[in-house]
């Protein structure tokens, strides 16, 4: 937590954000964020998006006839039926 880090401009801080977030450390403790509401809000939004991605996506169901297609393709590969 040096004075240098605190004195980063928003542009400089945001240029480092990808790496900072990827470390898995608590970026909210970064000195720049102690004084910059804009970057704090940006970080909060990005964390919300990542969290939502983990929680919100449902499992989807393929069409019922997909197995028929796969089974047909397997049989074609095995030579048990003639290809089209």
């Amino acid at each position: 937590m040096t004075e240098d880090r605190k004195d980063l401009s928003c542009q400089e801080f945001q240029a480092q954000m990808a790496d900072l977030i990827a470390t898995g450390d608590d970026v909210s403790m970064h000195p720049h964020l102690q004084t910059c509401a804009n970057c704090r809000a940006l970080l909060a939004d990005l964390e919300t998006i990542a969290e939502a991605a983990r929680q919100l996506f449902p499992i989807e169901q393929p069409k019922e006839d997909l197995w028929d297609r796969i089974e047909l393709a397997i049989k074609k590969e095995e030579g048990s039926i003639q290809p089209d």
């Binding site: 928003c10 542009q11 945001q14 954000m17 990808a18 790496d19 977030i21 990827a22 509401a37 804009n38 970057c39 809000a41 940006l42 909060a44 939004d45 990005l46 919300t48 998006i49 990542a50 939502a52 991605a53 983990r54 929680q55 919100l56 996506f57 449902p58 499992i59 989807e60 169901q61 393929p62 069409k63 019922e64 997909l66 197995w67 028929d68 297609r69 796969i70 089974e71 393709a73 397997i74 590969e77």
Partner: protein
């Protein structure tokens, strides 16, 4: 390996019953086949060429694999084609599975490779989309800050996020889905996409910034 968050989606309850057989009858199998880790017997039978056992594996994994393909390409018809290709590949290669990893992890990775091959065949430059991007943050986040009511916290609904992800440029969507949805680490993604770890981090960050812009726009519209 994917984080545990991806495992939440593979609850047995999410997987519907057995796949139809050629004659339309439901195959019979024991309760163990409802687990995402098929019992060794089912897997061994499928590896030995038992068609019914392979149908069981399809039944267990179809939704997980289809969902993965759908998120990666953002198109239902394409996702079904890729799911079909993934299971065809599985049929060809299942005998080579040696159990070094969980079967579901192995299949998941196989499906990702199928999608990546498909995207490469389409000529999609997976990791060099920066030039095509409008700058997602170069014009500065401050332009719409100072409006705390526009914070995304607690305001992201599933449909809005799904729509925003589907609208992402393909390369960004790929990284976002692999990392944030499927739970792969940057080093794993870098290996899959043949790019640097730094590139993976940077693309993920840009993807999230794009999503943020899209979600804030949606939120803004909702408030007007």
């Amino acid at each position: 390996m994917p984080r545990s968050n991806s495992a939440k989606n593979s609850s047995p309850n999410h997987e519907s019953g057995p796949a139809p057989t050629a004659d339309g009858a439901a195959p019979t199998y024991t309760a163990t086949a409802t687990s995402n880790s098929p019992d060794a017997n089912t897997l061994a039978r499928a590896q030995a060429g038992d068609h019914l056992a392979f149908a069981q594996l399809y039944s267990i994994h179809k939704r997980r694999i289809y969902s993965l393909c759908l998120r990666m390409v953002g198109n239902a018809a394409e996702a079904e084609d890729l799911t079909q290709e993934a299971f065809l590949q599985l049929h060809r290669k299942i005998a080579t599975f040696r159990g070094d990893s969980a079967f579901s992890t192995w299949l998941h990775r196989l499906a990702i490779n199928v999608v990546l091959m498909h995207l490469r065949k389409k000529g999609l430059p997976l990791m060099s989309l920066d030039e095509a991007m409008e700058p997602a943050h170069d014009d500065g986040p401050g332009r719409s800050f100072g409006a705390p009511d526009l914070s995304l916290s607690g305001s992201i609904d599933r449909l809005a996020l799904e729509r925003a992800v589907a609208d992402l440029p393909a390369g960004y969507r790929l990284i976002f889905v692999l990392h944030d949805v499927e739970g792969y680490e940057h080093n794993e993604i870098a290996g899959m996409l043949d790019c640097s770890i730094g590139n993976s981090k940077s693309q993920l960050h840009k993807a999230r910034l794009k999503l943020r812009d899209a979600l804030r726009t949606t939120l803004q519209r909702g408030q007007q």
